[in-house]
């Protein structure tokens, strides 16, 4: 299957709007008071969940593109990556607001004391340069190689994000979902390692 240019741009609009559904769910939930007894906790977790979902989707683009031989999928990677950043930024903002009421010092103390928060913040900080450099002008200015190297940071961010989630959940002793995400990230990263190996093997003179 190959998409024509108009089909592709139409599909892009659909995906763009679909990715806003979680935001809409949060906003309507607030307005209609439908988020339960602890809406702030709900919002913080929900935005974090979606940051993680979009991170998985972003990482899944390359394997799916190659396995299904659908090159056009690549055209969605940037949008998915930016939505990862968007929901991660919301998640961070909520933590900073709801948990620390914009008190930078207090937040910093919390970060230093608690590894699960530190790891989450590290993942978010590492997302920043990727979000900033995610337009064509920047790719041109940096050169493809350097840009690609920078964006390999995602391979560090994904395990950090899963670790953050795992440690958060560990207190409730309910680890089904953290294990699920960990296996997904492992599979998505392992795929890349295998591909690299194969390429190297093919290049070797027989």
């Amino acid at each position: 299957m190959n998409l024509t240019a108009p089909q592709l741009s139409r599909l892009k609009v659909v995906v763009f709007l679909a990715a806003l559904i979680p935001l809409g769910h949060m906003l309507s939930g607030i307005l209609m008071e439908r988020l339960g007894a602890n809406p702030l906790e709900y919002l913080t977790r929900y935005s974090g969940d979606w940051a993680l979902y979009f991170l998985m989707m972003t990482l899944a683009v390359t394997p799916l593109r190659k396995l299904l031989q659908q090159p056009w999928l690549l055209r969605f990677r940037r949008m998915l990556g930016l939505y990862t950043f968007f929901y991660a930024a919301l998640h961070f903002l909520m933590f900073f607001w709801f948990d620390h009421f914009f008190d930078l010092q207090e937040m910093w103390a919390d970060v230093l004391k608690r590894p699960f928060i530190a790891v989450g913040l590290m993942a978010f900080c590492a997302l920043l340069p990727l979000a900033v450099t995610s337009h064509n002008g920047m790719i041109r200015r940096m050169g493809g190689k350097a840009w690609q190297r920078l964006h390999q940071l995602i391979y560090v961010i994904a395990p950090l994000a899963v670790l953050h989630y795992y440690w958060m959940k560990a207190g409730k002793h309910d680890l089904t979902r953290p294990y699920l995400f960990a296996s997904l990230v492992a599979a998505l990263l392992l795929y890349r390692v295998v591909v690299k190996w194969r390429e190297r093997a093919e290049r070797r003179p027989v």
């Binding site: 007894a37 009421f101 608690r114 207190g171």
Partner: protein, 267 residues
């Protein structure tokens, strides 16, 4: 179903009460699921009549009480307590019950009795969550005998003028307002007096995170989050900081129980 009780002004804090809806739809009761919205949906399968509580262990003579005689053992009072969860949120709830000390007196513990163990119902048929291995079932909790005999320790049958909803631990539970919520064991079927400190459900699961005492203490953090502040359900949030957590959750009268103890060690 209404439950009649007269308010006891000695145990009525003045904070704004949490709405009944919030207090009955936001529950940690793993026997009905690990998500806090699940118990309100899933706990309909719990049968609270007939129900018996057996009193065992280091007592003069073990006995079994059915729930209706247990209800009549002492005068029911309404008490408004702060309720602080170890997760960092809190509520203010009007409970109905009487001091556990009345039951302790009736049980006539022997000189060997130093602790009390509480056991929650463990029935896969009524409690879907018990099929999952998140905790080592049945849920058990424990107190030192002098803690259990403190007048604040409330054997609880109702809330908001009604009998306890299933998701809040029907038909009978403990409420220990100076301790984190998970100490306030729900749907009790057995109370055992013991010589040795009993093992408790959360302590077995994560000993570094949940101690035997688990008194509310703003100075002793949970390994993964601070206990210095809390979010009052229905109040703190968008436009206000979280509130400071009070030592013993604002019940200084229990402090003498722990005189001379290092509360950082006995967390």
């Amino acid at each position: 179903q209404k439950l009649v009780a007269s308010p006891n002004p000695a145990y009525a804090i003045l904070d704004k009460k949490t709405s009944q809806k919030d207090a009955t739809t936001y529950n940690n009761f793993y026997e009905f699921g690990t998500d806090k919205s699940e118990p309100a949906i899933m706990a309909g399968s719990l049968k609270t009549r007939p129900w018996t509580v057996s009193i065992e262990g280091e007592v003069k003579k073990p006995f079994v009480l059915d729930i209706d005689s247990l209800l009549k053992l002492a005068t029911l009072e309404e008490r408004i307590y702060r309720f602080r969860c170890v997760e960092g949120w809190s509520m203010v709830v009007p409970w109905i019950g009487y001091s556990l000390s009345h039951l302790i007196k009736k049980a006539e513990p022997t000189g060997n009795a130093k602790y009390i163990e509480f056991v929650t119902l463990d029935d896969k048929k009524q409690m879907p969550g018990v099929r999952s291995p998140v905790l080592d079932w049945p849920y058990t909790e424990g107190l030192r005998l002098d803690e259990a005999a403190h007048p604040l320790a409330l054997l609880t049958f109702g809330m908001y003028g009604e009998v306890l909803p299933n998701q809040n631990g029907a038909p009978v539970r403990m409420v220990l307002p100076w301790k984190y919520g998970f100490k306030s064991v729900k749907s009790i079927v057995k109370i055992r007096f013991t010589k040795e400190q009993p093992a408790t459900a959360w302590n077995k699961t994560a000993p570094r995170e949940y101690g035997f005492y688990s008194n509310v203490n703003p100075e002793v953090d949970h390994p993964r989050w601070s206990q210095a502040s809390e979010r009052r359900i229905g109040e703190d949030g968008l436009f206000a900081r979280k509130r400071k957590t009070l030592m013993f959750n604002g019940y200084p009268e229990v402090a003498s129980l722990y005189a001379g103890m290092d509360l950082k060690k006995f967390y």
